[in-house]
């Protein structure tokens, strides 16, 4: 992404500027979490919503008519021109639009493709001597990683493969035993 003030280029995943006047600068980063309205409102009563009022007729037609017709909600869609803006080839280990969870901890990055985790399943792995639990919700595509001992969450990103592999080119990819 490019900022409007200095027109420096920033990596949206790491928060670091890599080109332009701000190259070398880094923003503080916070993990974000995924939920659904039902889950969030049943657990937390005071969550505030930022609601975009943007009304774009083209977007409305695309979302309401073309996305369902073309089946894009299930397999994902990125405008073709987008991939031409990437400054490195896409890692071929997985299909580029694969959806999954990337976890970054102990100087290691690992990608968990959504298809490898069944709804309601929890994967347990040892990272740096600590157990990490990766759980997929029963009723949605939300996946979350949590340290077993503390309940804290490591840095994680629900991301498509092309983006995560671009930022963490040497990341490991989780595979089930039958793969």
């Amino acid at each position: 992404m490019m900022d409007e003030e200095t027109r420096s280029l920033w990596d949206p995943m790491t928060g670091k500027a890599f080109k332009g006047p701000m190259a070398g600068a880094a923003m503080d980063i916070w993990p974000v979490f995924y939920s659904t309205t039902k889950k969030e409102t049943s657990t937390f009563k005071n969550t505030q919503l930022f609601l975009s009022k943007n009304r774009n007729p083209q977007k409305w037609v695309f979302q309401k008519i073309f996305r369902p017709l073309l089946g894009l909600d299930s397999r994902g869609f990125i405008p073709p021109y987008f991939f031409g803006t990437m400054s490195a080839p896409i890692d071929p280990r997985l299909p580029k639009l694969t959806q999954g969870l990337g976890v970054i901890a102990d100087k290691k990055a690992r990608y968990y493709p959504l298809d490898c985790i069944a709804p309601g399943e929890t994967i347990r792995e040892i990272w740096g001597g600590e157990e990490l639990m990766i759980t997929r919700a029963e009723d949605s595509a939300i996946v979350e990683a949590v340290w077993s001992s503390t309940g804290e969450k490591p840095m994680q990103l629900l991301s498509r493969w092309y983006g995560f592999a671009f930022t963490y080119p040497n990341c490991e990819v989780f595979q089930t035993t039958d793969q």
């Binding site: 490019m2 969550t47 505030q48 803006t85």
Partner: protein, 78 residues
């Protein structure tokens, strides 16, 4: 046939406008008060023990949301 030129910083920098429209929220409202589908996917961030939600499909359109919470600037990317 015209050969495909790689995207460079200089090329991007020369453009006057940006391709995406960032979401710049000025205010928030209680999630519980907004009529949304119970299965609506949300992105949640926490700040000073308060939780803030964005609708995921809106972020998929904007890609970036930026604003200010308790005097601190934030940027959410998706």
């Amino acid at each position: 046939m015209k050969s495909k030129q790689p995207i460079t910083y200089e090329k991007v920098n020369a453009k006057k406008s940006f391709r995406f429209t960032p979401f710049r929220p000025k205010s928030s409202q209680p999630l519980a008060d907004v009529r949304l589908s119970s299965e609506e996917d949300l992105m949640i961030m926490e700040k000073s023990e308060r939780r803030y939600a964005f609708i995921l499909r809106q972020l998929a359109y904007h890609h970036l949301a930026q604003g200010n919470i308790e005097g601190e600037a934030y940027l959410v990317s998706f």
